[in-house]
Amino acid sequence: MELTLWTYEGPPHFGAIRVAASMRDVHLVLHSPQGDTYADLLFTMIERDGRRPPVTYTTFQARDLGGSTAEKVTDTLRAAVEHHQPQLLLVADSCTAELIQDQPGALAEGAGLGVPVIALEMAAYSRKENWGAGETFFQIVRGLLAANVPARQQARVRPEDERPSVNLLGPSKLGFRCRDDVAEVERLLSAIGVDVNVVAPLGAAPADILALPNADANVCLYPEVAAPVCRWLERQYRQPTIKTVPLGIGASRDFIAEVIKVLALPTVADPVAASRLPWYSRSVDSTYLTGKRVFIFADATHAVAAARMASKEMGFDVVGLGTYSREQARDVREAARELGLEALITDDYLAVEAAIEVLQPELVLGTQMERHIAKRLGIGCAVIATPAHVQDYPARYSPQMGIEGANVIFDTWIHPLMMGLEEHLLGMFREDFEFNDTAVPSHLDSAERAVPAAADTDATTVSGPAWALCAERELKKIPFFVRGKARRNTEQFAVEQGIATIDVDTLYEAKAHFSR
C-alpha cells in the first residue's frame, strides 16, 4: 500500500479513456463499478469538452456481483455498439473489474459485434495513466495496422512529386496545450515545406491510423503517450522517429535541424528567427531575471524542456528538477546531472513539497500540485504540465511548442516574478517611510496593514544562533520578500561557522558566502 493524498496521474484505464476521447469513431466499453463514471467530468469540466467521452461503463453494483457480471458486460457491449456505431471498439477493465476477471475483451471478441475489437489490459495495480494512454495508443495502432498494412523491410521511398510529410504522434485530450501545440508545430513544419500526414490520437479516426505508414517519419511529440507507437512503427515500417520535442527556442531549432536531417531536406536560415523570446530575454529589464532560483517538477518531457529553457534561455538557476514519470526518468536524471543536480523522481507530492521547502526557490514550474504547494509557501508558480486545472485550458491560442510557444512561456514564467524595474525600485526604497512591509499603501485610506501577517512569518526564528539587536535591525532593511531567505542563509552560515550570536558582520559574511 502506498499513501496518496494527491495523485499526479490517474489509473491506467483513465489513460485509455483519454486516447478514446481524443479519437473519432472509436468507442470504449469499460467494465467498471458504479462511480467510475467520474472520469467524464475531467473532460467536460476541466477541458470544457462539449461531448461526453465516448465511453460506456458497465457500472456494476453489489447485486450484480451475486449474479453474472459477465452477462452485464455482454449486454453493455451490444447496447454500446448499437447506440454509438463506432468503427473501432476498445474494451478494458477498470481496477475493480480486473479483480473479478470477467475477461470483457474475450467476451467482446466472441460476441459477434460486427466491429473490430481491441482488448486492452490495463494493469491497474502497477501502472498509471500515462502508461495506460501509451499502451492504448500502441494497441490501437498495432491492432489496426498489423492486420491491414504489411510490414516493410526498407524505409519508404518518397515519390519525386510528393512533398515530404511526417506524422505528429502523442497529442491527446487532457494533455498540456496539445490543441495549440499541434497548430504551432504544423506551422513550424510548413515553413520548411513539410506536410503533416496524420495527427494522432487527437482528432484521428481509425482510417487515419491506417494511413500512418504513408509518412516519411514520425514526430514523437509527447513521448509519454507516443514512444511505444514510434518504436513499433520504426521496427514495422522503417519509419524514423524525430525525437526532439520543440519546447523552447533552442529545442525548436534542434527540432527543425533533426527534421531536415532525417528527411534529407535543404538547410534553411534560422527557422525560429521570428520568435520574440531571444530579444525579450536580452532586453535590460530581463537582467533582473539572472540567477532566479527555479524549481521544476513535471512530466519528463516538460521537465527536461523547462530545465533547458530556464537555464539557457531565461538565465535562471535551476535548483531542483524532477518528474513523476518513472518510465521516462532516465532523461530527467541526465538533464539534472548536466545542471549539477540530482533528479527528484517520485509520485509522492509530499516529497516534492519537502524539496521545495528546503530549496526555497523564487519560482516553481510545475503541475497543479506544485501550484498548491507554491501558493501555500508564498512562492510564485507557473504551470507547465499536467495535471492541470481548468485555467490551464485557456480560450486563447496558447501553445507551448515552437515559436509562439516560446513567446507564451516567456510571458507565463515572468508573470509570477517581480518585474525587473519594480524589484529595483523596491530595493531602492526598502526602508522608505511609505514603502515598506508594514506601511499602508498611501492610496488606501485604511488602518489595516498592507501586508498580511503571513509575509512576516520569517520573524519566527527556530532554535539556532541568536541575533544581536544590531543584526536584527540590519536584517529589517533587507526587502521583506527576500528577508526570509537572508535570515535562513545567515543562520545556516552561523551554524556552519560555529557562531553563537549573529552580528552585522556575520550577516554580511553570510551574504558574501552565499553570493559566490
Partner: protein, 439 residues
C-alpha cells in the same frame, strides 16, 4: 396569517398519497460512488481523517470531485493497493498499520480516523471492521477508529454519508436520562446548524444535538429519550441504526424551502409536545423574510420546466420545493434509489401540489435513454452531474450541476432564496449573454 398557512400546509401533508407510478430503470448509471461524501464529511468533522483503502482510481476520483474546492492539505487520502498487496506478497493488515502510522505521524491532531472501504477492498474482502478494532487497540485513548464502506458497489454518492454515520452510531454513548432530546442527523453547513439551533431554542427545545458534530469528542448520546429528525434524505441505514438504539424517528419532509423547513420544525415540535401556534409564532419572522427574498425568484422561475437526472438523492425534496414554492413544472424526477419511508412526506406534497399526471418518477438509471428523454422534453433546466452538464449545454439545454447542492448552505428559511437562486442563475445567464445561439 402565517399560522393559517402553516396549518393548511400540514393538512395537505396528511392527505393520502396520490399513488405515483415509479419507473425503474437499470442500465449505465452516471453517478458518483459513496467516497464522494468524504469531501463534505471531512469539512464537517474538523478533526477527522478519512483513509480510503483502495486504488489509484479512488484517489483520482476524490481529487477530481473535490480538488476544485480544496486548497490546503486534505484530511483525506488513499492507501493505494499495489500488485504485491493483491498477490499476497504483502500482509495487507501490516501494510495498513504502516500507512495509518504515517498518517498519524503527519497529522497528530487527528482524533477520528475513518477507514473507508472501496470497490477493490471489498472485492478482495479486506476486513476493515477488524482492522479498525485492531487499530483502535493500538492507538486507543485519544483516537477513534471507525470503518465504513464508500464503494460504488455498495453506495451511491450521498449514501457514503449514510454508511459513515451508520457505523458511527455504534460509537454514540448510551443516553442515561429520560428527558427527551432532539438529535438532528445528517451533515448540515455550520451556519445552517446555528440557525436551526437558535430556532429550536426559541421554540423551547433546548436539548438539541447535531450528528455528526464538528469535533470528535462531542458525540451526542442516544437512547429511548432520543427523537431523531433527519436533515438529509439519504440516511435510511443511519435512521435504522438509531432506531435500534431505542431512538424514535420523526417523519417529516426535508428542510428545503419555506414549506419544507416549516413542516420539519412543526414535526419536531409536535414530538416534543409544543403547540403548533407556539411554533408558528417563532417561525413567523423567518418565514416572512424568506417569502420576501423568494418572491422575485418565484416570479422568474414560475412556469419553467425542469428535469432531474438521478444523482444526489435530494431530487424529490428539491422538485417539491421548486414546484410548490417556485412554480416550476417537474417533467422527470430521477433518483438513484427510492426509499419510500423517508421520501413519503415529500412525495405526497409533491404529488398534491406541483407534479402533474405527466410527471415521470424514475428510480435507478439507464443513461442513454434518460438523455434521449431530456432531448425530447427539452426542459428549461436539467439538474445533472458534472460529466453531463456541459454536453447538454452544448446541445442548447440549460443545466444545473448537482454536486453544488451538497456543498452550499441550502436548508432552512434564510437559505430558501439562495436555493432558488442556484436554479435561476443558469437561466438568467442565458438571458444576459449575446454571444450567438446556445446550440
Amino acid at each position: 396569517m402565517n399560522s393559517q398557512v402553516n396549518s393548511q400546509v400540514i393538512a395537505r401533508q396528511v392527505e393520502p398519497d396520490a399513488a405515483q407510478a415509479l419507473i425503474q430503470e437499470r442500465g449505465q448509471r452516471a453517478v458518483f460512488c459513496g467516497l464522494t461524501s468524504i469531501i463534505w464529511l471531512h469539512r464537517k468533522i474538523q478533526d477527522a481523517f478519512f483513509l480510503v483503502v483502495g486504488s489509484r482510481t479512488c484517489a483520482h476520483l476524490l481529487q477530481s470531485a473535490g480538488g476544485v474546492m480544496i486548497f490546503s492539505e486534505p484530511r483525506f487520502g488513499t492507501a493505494v493497493l499495489q500488485d504485491r498487496d493483491l498477490a499476497g506478497m504483502a500482509d495487507c493488515n501490516a501494510e495498513l498499520d504502516r500507512v495509518v502510522a504515517q498518517v498519524l505521524a503527519r497529522r497528530p491532531s487527528i482524533r477520528s480516523l475513518f477507514l473507508v472501504g472501496s470497490c477493490p477492498s471489498e472485492v478482495i474482502k479486506l476486513d476493515l471492521d477488524n482492522a479498525a478494532k485492531r487499530l483502535q487497540q493500538v492507538h486507543g485513548g485519544k483516537l477513534r477508529v471507525v470503518a465504513f464502506s464508500g464503494s460504488g458497489i455498495e453506495t451511491t454518492f450521498s449514501q457514503g454519508e449514510d454508511a459513515c454515520l451508520e457505523q458511527l452510531v455504534a460509537a454514540l454513548p448510551e443516553s442515561t436520562d429520560d428527558a427527551p432530546s432532539l438529535l438532528i442527523a445528517g451533515t448540515l453547513p455550520d451556519i445552517v446548524e446555528d440557525q436551526f439551533q437558535r430556532l429550536f431554542a426559541s421554540i423551547g427545545i433546548e436539548r438539541v444535538a447535531f450528528f455528526p458534530g464538528r469535533q470528535s469528542d462531542t458525540l451526542p448520546s442516544v437512547g429511548r429519550n432520543t427523537r431523531v429528525l433527519l436533515a438529509q434524505p439519504y440516511l435510511g441505514s443511519t435512521a435504522r441504526a438509531l432506531e435500534a438504539r431505542g431512538a424514535m424517528i420523526i417523519e417529516a419532509p426535508f428542510p428545503l424551502g419555506i414549506e419544507g423547513s416549516a413542516l420539519w420544525f412543526h414535526a419536531a415540535s409536535a414530538a416534543f409536545g409544543v403547540s403548533p401556534q407556539a411554533v408558528d409564532g417563532v417561525l413567523a419572522g423567518p418565514i416572512a423574510r424568506a417569502r420576501r427574498a423568494l418572491a422575485p425568484l418565484r416570479d422568474y422561475l414560475s412556469g419553467k420546466r425542469i428535469s432531474f437526472l438521478p444523482d444526489s438523492q435530494l431530487e424529490l425534496p428539491l422538485a417539491r420545493f421548486l414546484s410548490a414554492e417556485c412554480g416550476m413544472t417537474p417533467i422527470e424526477v430521477g433518483t438513484p434509489f427510492h426509499d419510500e419511508r423517508w421520501l413519503r412526506a415529500d412525495m405526497s406534497l409533491l404529488t398534491a401540489n406541483g407534479a402533474n399526471a405527466e410527471t415521470r418518477f424514475v428510480e435507478g438509471q439507464d443513461l442513454e435513454p434518460a438523455l434521449a428523454r431530456v432531448r425530447a422534453d427539452r426542459p428549461d433546466l436539467t439538474v445533472c452531474g458534472l460529466g453531463i452538464a456541459n454536453p447538454l449545454e452544448a446541445e442548447g439545454l440549460r443545466t444545473k450541476w448537482s454536486i453544488e447542492l451538497l456543498f452550499t448552505p441550502i436548508q432552512g428559511f434564510e437559505q430558501a432564496a439562495d436555493l432558488a437562486e442556484l436554479f435561476a442563475r443558469p437561466l438568467r445567464r442565458e438571458g444576459r449573454l449575446e454571444v450567438g445561439s446556445w446550440s
